[in-house]
């Protein structure tokens, strides 16, 4: 916990001085909330209990609003209209019998998100980010209710407490594995960039002329000039004139 708080403090104090990094984080936050809304919506559709459905439905609206709040902050802080991340969406549960797993997942996931948001909230000092602090405060209140609600719904299922605890452990392990894989992908990505930086000049020098010929472009120059062959004599044009 201490390390995580330290990491967040570093992130907020140093990394977020770079506006693009801050904007990327806000975009990810918005995506996380939109993703939660999607999963909650699917869970509400799966549930057979009207009261549970209604409860989950209320949470959907909250998460949608959170996603919207982050998108607005993104825009207000100079990012313009936010382009969503659009990761592949995969359902967490497929049948009503498995909904208890979903509730455990929410309890752990929303709990982790709430902790992260709280650490960020506490570390925020920049007056320019006052709006973010305010949004985080509102969201923290909602997330605390979600965690509590998910715990209640999990408890209300017929699954024994021991199984619930075991599932919570599994969820934590899965989340840690996902985080590890994400780090791995960053490393692979950086390595790929390095390799391609070496490959680019070689392929560029050897292939540029062929590529330009294939595209019907002039053989030299910085612009994309049309090759003389690509432009028809004016007399042959049937569109683009005399209209």
């Amino acid at each position: 916990m201490f390390l995580e708080r330290l990491r967040i403090r570093f992130l907020v104090a140093l990394a977020w001085r770079s506006r693009p990094r801050l904007l990327t984080t806000l975009r990810n936050f918005s995506e996380t909330e939109a993703d939660s809304a999607w999963h909650l919506l699917r869970a509400a559709e799966l549930s057979a209990d009207p009261a549970e459905k209604a409860d989950l439905f209320g949470q959907v609206l909250e998460e949608m609003r959170h996603a919207e709040e982050f998108a607005k902050l993104y825009k207000d802080l100079g990012g313009g209209r936010m382009k969503p991340v659009k990761p592949e969406r995969r359902p967490l549960v497929e049948s009503p019998e498995d909904l208890w797993r979903f509730h455990v997942f929410c309890q752990v996931g929303e709990g982790a998100a709430a902790t992260r948001f709280k650490n960020i909230h506490d570390a925020l000092r920049d007056p320019e980010l006052r709006a973010l602090k305010k949004v985080l405060r509102q969201i923290l209140r909602d997330e605390a209710q979600h965690v509590h609600g998910a715990a209640e719904l999990a408890k209300a299922s017929t699954v024994p407490p021991r199984t619930l605890r075991k599932e919570a452990g599994n969820v934590r392990a899965r989340r840690a594995w996902d985080a590890w894989m994400r780090s791995g992908r960053h490393v692979t990505n950086a390595f790929g960039t390095l390799v391609l930086a070496v490959v680019y000049p070689i392929v560029g020098v050897l292939g540029r002329r062929t590529a330009r010929r294939r595209l019907g472009m002039a053989p030299a120059g910085r612009g994309l000039a049309p090759s003389p062959a690509a432009v028809a004599p004016a007399s042959r044009l049937v569109a683009g004139e005399a209209h």
Binding site: L41, P50, R89, A197, G204, G216, V238
Partner: protein, 600 residues
């Protein structure tokens, strides 16, 4: 046994199931993932279409993909290498995407579906578009035109579709234009220059064009042309297509057409209240008008050439460019063909349908008309018992941003036993100025809301349209709404040369604009563009009896817009509809025969 068609990897990932020439189900991934233009592997859509068709992956004869990735890869390599040494970033991004994933489509499909790779068939992208248009039309002889941004290399294709000696359909390619000679890319580049999202907001360029004069048409004709052989010619020195999503225009383009519109610069045009605007804004509209005009000229030139080459009476038109309803109207009115068919989803999503139709036709040789209502009806029952537990005051803090927090609101729901009772009740809501969400049966395939997932309002109160734009849709004022109507109302409202013109296929699914009679305009003002045209849907009483009954009970056309919030795809399930209803200022929600009303 059946064929599954898939498209993904660029935008609008889609899955479709076809059996003996009939499209049993089609669904874009975005409709289930709630991410507009979702390009990911369409696993949710595949499950949905298989479930709708009552099949499993094991039942599939073939899985058809809409593109040949290895050919596309050669184009991507060439286009990122050609500008060397200033294309390092583009090269790196493209190679990571292609070598990391996009090139290995067959492996991914086989692994994710658990099928034999031998069952996977790769079809050319424009071949898929052509099949979607021709096989989906149900016609036995037709000219085929496909225009989009780019497939593998082809950007525009002219072809002839016929029945072969064995009775199976045959598509003969006639003329093709290759990248970078692309009308679609030019139109998208102009869209980006106008500050809109390319490959998404081309409809905004088309809408903006109506406010401008084509003062730059001469210059635009230097940019895109069609020659006597039916080939597209682009002066590529106006563009950097390799930087597609990041300023694809060159300094030459800026010299001729001026500075681009910054996205944050609001456009002051209003389709309901035309007014003079600042010269800067007018210039953007004029360039849009010029691009639209020259695009239409090129389209007509291609159609005329195709008519000469084929001698066919009918034209099948597909590719993203076929979504341009203003150009379609000109094609219909001034083109050489008697009939024009545009499939319900002519863009890349529909290419999945085309790929499946093509694979299926090679075996079965049959074809039937591809109609729009083949989307999902999954999880369709609305749990009315749940509504008793919903307390709107509990989520009043979580409405759409910008809406005032409501208090004292209640929801009341009523189930109507007959369609006529339902129609009368909802017509009364419309008359009273309610914004009505309308969800019925299987969802539409394609981008148009056609009365399965629609938001409706009465068409004669501009203030109501303004409320809809501001409190539900976040819609820019320069974008007009469209009208749905019965055939009787169409005869009263629309200005066509002959009454029989109303039966043209393009008026069934909002695919062509048409003028509204001047004397009738005030009665449907909210569904008109600034030039007095509308994009009509003449509702088929057989295909949509409930929607038709509603229009009959209302006694006029209604404004029909997609059931979604800005930035989201159309809703699919009742819960998604309920979420939009709860978050926005929508007044009434109709799900099948249940009506939920907000009581304030």
């Amino acid at each position: 046994m059946a064929t599954l068609g898939i498209s993904y990897g660029f935008h609008d990932a889609t899955a479709a199931v076809v059996h003996q020439g009939k499209v049993l189900a089609a669904c874009a991934e975005e409709r289930l993932s709630r991410q507009k233009h979702d390009a990911n592997f369409p696993m949710l859509a595949i499950r949905s279409v298989l479930a709708e068709a009552g099949l499993t992956a094991a039942d599939l004869d073939f899985v058809a993909y809409h593109e040949r990735p290895s050919e596309t890869f050669t184009r991507v390599v060439a286009s990122t290498i050609a500008p060397f040494p200033r294309s390092r970033r583009e090269f790196t991004v493209a190679m990571k995407a292609w070598l990391g994933k996009k090139l290995w489509v067959e492996g991914e499909i086989a692994t994710r579906l658990g099928i034999d790779p031998a069952k996977i068939a790769l079809h050319g992208h424009h071949e898929s578009h052509a099949a979607q248009a021709f096989l989906g039309s149900g016609w036995t002889d037709a000219a085929i035109l496909t225009i989009d941004a780019v497939g593998e290399w082809a950007t525009t294709s002219l072809a002839h579709g016929r029945r072969g000696g064995d009775g199976k359909p045959v598509i003969t390619p006639l003329v093709a234009s290759d990248y970078p000679s692309s009308l679609g890319l030019v139109y998208s580049a102009v869209t980006a220059w106008l500050g809109f999202e390319p490959m998404d907001s081309e409809c905004s360029t088309m809408a903006l064009a109506a406010f401008g004069q084509p003062r730059y048409a001469r210059e635009m004709r230097q940019v895109m042309q069609v020659d006597a052989d039916g080939r597209v010619l682009i002066d590529a020195s106006f563009f950097h297509f390799d930087r597609y999503f990041d300023a694809p225009w060159s300094s030459r383009f800026l010299d001729v057409f001026g500075a681009p519109r910054p996205p944050e610069h609001a456009l002051p045009f209003d389709s309901l209240a035309p007014a003079r605007v600042a010269p800067q804004s007018q210039r953007w509209a004029d360039v849009a008008a010029s691009a639209q005009l020259v695009f239409e000229e090129c389209l007509l030139a291609l159609a005329r050439r195709l008519h000469v080459l084929t001698g066919a009476e009918n034209l099948c038109f597909a590719g993203g460019a076929a979504l341009n309803c203003v150009a379609n109207a000109r094609l219909l009115d001034q083109g050489p063909f008697k009939n024009v068919y545009v499939p319900p989803d002519p863009g890349d999503g529909g290419a999945a349908v085309g790929a499946a139709l093509l694979a299926d036709a090679k075996v079965h040789g049959q074809s039937a008309e591809y109609r729009p209502f083949v989307g999902p009806a999954r999880s369709f029952a609305l749990d009315e018992a749940m509504l008793a537990h919903v307390e709107p005051k509990a989520f009043r803090r979580h409405l759409k941003l910008g809406l005032p927090v409501t208090s004292g609101e209640r929801w009341e729901h009523t189930r109507y036993e007959t369609d006529s009772e339902l129609a009368r009740a909802v017509a009364a809501d419309l008359t009273q100025g309610a914004i009505v969400g309308w969800v019925q049966g299987r969802a539409e395939s394609g981008p148009r809301a056609l009365g399965a997932r629609s938001i409706l309002i009465r068409p004669d109160l501009p203030e109501l349209a303004k409320r809809l734009s501001e409190t539900v849709k976040d819609r820019a004022r320069y974008r007009p709404y469209a009208l749905s109507m019965t055939r009787e109302d169409a005869a009263r409202l629309l200005e066509t040369r002959a009454p029989a013109d109303l039966d043209r296929p393009l008026y069934r699914w909002m695919q062509a604009s048409v003028s509204v009679r001047p004397e009738a305009r005030s009665g449907v003002a909210c569904g008109l563009h600034v030039d007095g045209t509308t994009r009509p849907q003449i509702v088929d009483p057989v295909a949509q009896p409930r929607f038709h009954a509603l229009l009959g009970a209302f006694g006029n056309a209604v404004v029909n817009t997609s059931f979604n919030e800005s930035g989201f795809p159309l809703v699919t399930t009742p819960f998604e509809a309920l979420a939009v209803f709860a978050r926005t200022a929508m007044d009434v929600l109709v799900i099948e025969n249940t009506v939920i009303r907000k009581q304030r």
